[in-house]
């Protein structure tokens, strides 16, 4: 049995079901990160002193990662736009670029983490590092998840383009929505953790 409303729009919502599904999922993600941000505020305002982010963290590296993630959002949306223009070859270049930029983000994060661990700065060291590792760790897992889905659409999942290009384009758009959300979370994490 075919999944209904993957291509055609529902009359009552004006949307395909995939898009409603991804937005509901993103709503739950907002609450997940929201709970952690609320915890951060609670811990910070309750602490007698709180270190500036740059006393522990590497701002230039995090700035580089911000630029990398924003660039990956652009390549992601360009991958979708390429499919809308029926240019599959261009799609693969942009999608490949998105995956590579995600990898660069994770490599930079690896260097940051290993530096902290080398210095003995662990989540158990203080509340600042605990919330830093929790928030960036969860965000990093989201980057890994997004990369896995994007890699699937770049590789084996792209077979769908030959049989049902509209459905494939919709799926890439939905995966892009998740990827932009991951970028959006980082846009708030960066000043909150590194600059304040």
């Amino acid at each position: 049995m075919d999944i209904p409303y993957t291509v055609e729009l529902r009359r009552d919502t004006g949307l395909n079901n995939g898009k409603i599904g991804i937005w509901l999922f993103l709503a739950s993600e907002v609450m997940l990160f929201g709970a952690l941000f609320a915890s951060y505020i609670l811990i910070r305002v309750g602490a007698p002193t709180w270190p500036r982010g740059d006393t522990f963290l590497d701002v230039p590296l995090a700035t580089l990662n911000t630029i990398v993630l924003i660039a990956s959002s652009v390549t992601m949306v360009m991958a979708w736009a390429s499919l809308m223009r029926r240019r599959f070859g261009t799609f693969r270049i942009y999608m490949g670029g998105t995956i590579l930029l995600g990898l660069v983000f994770l490599v930079v994060k690896y260097f940051e983490y290993s530096h902290h661990i080398h210095l003995g700065e662990l989540p158990s060291t203080n509340n600042f590092l605990a919330i830093y590792f929790t928030l960036t760790g969860l965000h990093g897992l989201h980057v890994v998840g997004g990369m896995a889905v994007n890699a699937y659409f770049w590789g084996p999942g792209s077979k769908l383009w030959k049989t049902n290009p509209v459905w494939f384009t919709n799926r890439v758009e939905h995966s892009g929505l998740f990827w932009h959300f991951v970028d959006l979370v980082w846009i708030f994490l960066f000043p909150t953790l590194y600059l304040l």
Partner: protein
Amino acid sequence: MSDHSVDSMTGDHAVDIDKHVRVYITVFVALMALTIITVAISRVHLAVPLAVTVALLVAIIKGSLVACYFMHLISEKKLIYAVLALTVSFFVALMALPVVTFFDGYWIHQ
């Protein structure tokens, strides 16, 4: 942009997509500029309340650009807006909880 998700591949919306691509590039440049501004402001070492306000303001502008243009929220269907309105109301309540907790003691001791 959700309006384009099904029938745009026929070519009628090719010009539209070209316009969108130009917008994406403009938004990218704006995001880069705002990132540099965020880092530059942090080097001024403002008082914490002002630094938090400015940093969050710039982050909100950047986030809005991503949501409106990359996530196509500037031209979405009503149902998506309804889902987001509900999400935002719960999110605001969630953010208010630690603030209320902080001021709880303040009002008692007044």
